[in-house]
């Protein structure tokens, strides 16, 4: 599986965040796996974990929160192309999939918010 990464929508001083480890801690503190120096990002803002072939993001009680596709979340499964806002900084998840749907794998674990998936009748 190629490594996933969070790429900032606005390029500049903010660097992409590689998500290669099982748990990546993101925040303003030096000891985070991915330090993001910005006043509106908490010292330990959120973490992203590889779980059952999927990616799960979890807010760690940050002041300015985490949004996935515009919706503020506490914990959410991520898919390729999702827009992830960590405080004021917006990233897009780049996660080229060889095969399979990452959400379906992540959904097997309980308590993961499946996002705003609506079942559709696409039989016809």
């Amino acid at each position: 599986m190629p490594p996933a990464r969070l790429v900032p929508l606005v390029s500049g001083l903010i660097r992409p965040i590689p998500l290669e480890r099982p748990v990546v801690l993101i925040g303003r503190h030096q000891e985070c796996d991915a330090p993001v120096v910005h006043a509106r990002i908490s010292r330990r803002h959120c973490c992203v974990a590889q779980i059952a072939g999927g990616l799960v993001i979890r807010d760690l009680g940050s002041r300015n929160g985490v949004r996935v596709n515009g919706e503020r979340i506490e914990e959410a499964a991520l898919a390729d192309g999702d827009e992830v806002a960590i405080g004021p900084i917006v990233y897009r998840l780049e996660w080229p999939q060889v095969s399979g749907d990452p959400r379906s794998a992540a959904q097997q674990s309980p308590d993961i918010i499946p996002g705003d998936l609506v079942p559709l009748d696409d039989d016809e």
Partner: protein
Amino acid sequence: MPIRLVALDEGSDILVDRAMVIVGRHPQCDARLESIRVSRRHCCMIQDQDTADVIVRDLGSTNGIRINGQRIEKGTLRPGDELSIAHLRYRMEAGHSEELTLAETIPAEQQVKLSAAFDSPSSRPVAAPNAPTPSEHRLAAAVRDMLPASMADRCRIQVIVQVPPDDGDHDAAMDVPLDAKPSEPDASCRPPDSSPSSPG
């Protein structure tokens, strides 16, 4: 199958039963530890994708985490390893379901039935209508009833009633041995107490 971290000090066990378990003192944590020495968000745990190990990551806690005594920022917890969250020690369970007590494997509605059998006024062995042995205690019969048939046929269920020492006089444990149908002599079952075998 959730992984259990058995508490070696005070407090309850930690179950890694969801995708990501955040441990800490804050109410939003998945596993709350009430101690003042535990940070609000102390560490996070996930189950390894390939193995049954648990990956632990310190979330900038004041008092840190240790695996087998070694302070770490991130690490892998394998069965049998000891994890310290501040001063609270946990041991990662080596096995899975084999380590569960009988009570944890019994569904809630059956537990109600079990306590109903225990609360019944008759403490003498009585013949339950569907008991495999005629003189089985109702509690033992209720336990046997919820065991898998393969196990129920072969085991002997002993009911031990412990009286709490509330008025000081009697703190003895009543031991009520009951013999079940000895259909298949099994080496793993203890022999009945009525046949002591002491080679002089």
